[in-house]
């Protein structure tokens, strides 16, 4: 995003809208293009009184910023808007997460800080050591040069995005070891990241992942997402 310096009247109305604080104000407002994640929020919401904000033409690799930052960009891989996939939201229809397996989602850059791919790569490589298969429908996976090792394309490493999601499944018994590795890499990144687990309930509505989270000694929230099983047709479990 850029601001036409000939038009800007320096009112500062756009400044607080930027999620990563990339807009500064002197006589006029200026966007730090290195920090801008191309989310489009300022253009859509700040109501610039002189229409000085404009979307400049982007070429790869900068286009990746928009794909992973602007929630209205539809990713080719998932076919849906946003940075993620259908994941557990349609699990009764897709059976993506089956009993005995746990889905893990690591959203790097969320909340607040945003991230550069150099951090996403550190976490991806720590997870790849477990032999995980990163979800192919997730746009973040398509940015890796080698999904088997979690290596990203070199030209992307300094690109900044609001967040990038690493998504994969592991057997539920592996969860404590995976979380230990995440604790280790957490001290080596400059970004905040969120971690979540998805688990299919058994017929008595028990959630098996909780015993493994307790074993790992990690905190988990009392609130979250519940798929209530109304999608049709129901998937047939293998």
């Amino acid at each position: 995003m850029q601001i036409d310096q000939e038009l800007c009247v320096g009112c500062g109305q756009c400044v607080p809208y930027c999620p990563v604080g990339a807009i500064s104000l002197d006589d006029t407002a200026v966007i730090d293009l290195d920090e801008c994640a191309e989310c489009g929020c300022c253009l859509r919401c700040a109501d610039c009184p002189v229409d000085a904000l404009y979307q400049q033409e982007m070429v790869y690799p900068r286009t990746v910023r928009s794909i992973l930052s602007d929630p209205l960009t539809i990713a080719t891989e998932s076919g849906i808007s946003g940075r993620g996939t259908e994941e557990m939201k349609t699990n009764e229809v897709t059976a993506r997460f089956r009993e005995g397996q746990v889905g893990i989602g690591i959203e790097v850059g969320r909340p607040v800080t945003g991230t550069r791919f150099v951090d996403v790569e550190k976490i991806a490589q720590a997870m790849a050591a477990f032999g995980v298969q990163f979800e192919v429908c997730n746009p973040t996976t398509s940015l890796m040069s080698d999904p088997a090792t979690g290596k990203f394309k070199d030209e992307l490493l300094n690109e900044k995005v609001l967040s990038a999601i690493l998504e994969f499944c592991v057997p539920q018994e592996a969860l404590p070891d995976v979380l230990d590795a995440l604790k280790d890499v957490a001290g080596k990144v400059d970004s905040v990241f969120t971690v979540c687990v998805a688990c299919k309930a058994d017929e008595n509505e028990n959630i098996a992942s909780y015993q493994y989270l307790d074993k790992a000694g990690v905190w988990y929230a009392p609130n979250g997402k519940t798929n209530i099983g109304l999608g049709r047709p129901l998937a047939k479990e293998a």
């Binding site: 557990m88 909340p111 800080t113 609001l162 988990y220 009392p222 997402k225 798929n227 209530i228």
Partner: protein, 209 residues
Amino acid sequence: MTHTLHRVGSDENLREDFVVLAMPSKDINHEGSGPKLQEIIRICLKEGAVKAGDARLGNEYHQGGLETMIRNIEDRAVVTAVFNDQDKLVNALKAIKAGDFGMSIVVSGLFDRVKECCHAAGQKVHTVNTSLGRWGATHKLPATEVMEIQSMCGHGMVSVDLILDTLDQVKRGAMSLAEASERLFRPCQCGIFNTDRAQKRIEAMMEKV
């Protein structure tokens, strides 16, 4: 596995925060899903949803009005509705179930309360997604009361600076609580930002000052 997950709050203030999300699955049941998703949103609004949204094409502000937003809902959309009341949520879920739309429905909120709602609507818990919180450079995060508001937009579009600026405007009497919550809702393109809860959280922050 994010979006409506990771909402920060106490047990007490999360009791009035539920998000219903409805979507089809690509290549399984997405054809003809647009009208079904429109109907689900109309049901939620009729039953008293605080806000509704379309994550594919943007919120009511972006699309020029709530009715336009609903009419524009297309196949493959992901639609949302925010509730601040458990009974209203149960009524909406019962009506959605009776409509037999075949769309996947995910409810976000306190797990024990969502489970109660699920049972009241005649459904069982199928799959859960649990937040393990924030890791890494967490020293960069603002105070918890700011995070309670910021985390209500899953895509991180409601900036910390906008929250603090809005709080300042309310303190100075330049903006009402209702205006403040709408200002904060606007960047949340999926419409999952709970304006009712935001008003209460801003009010609580004012009392602390």
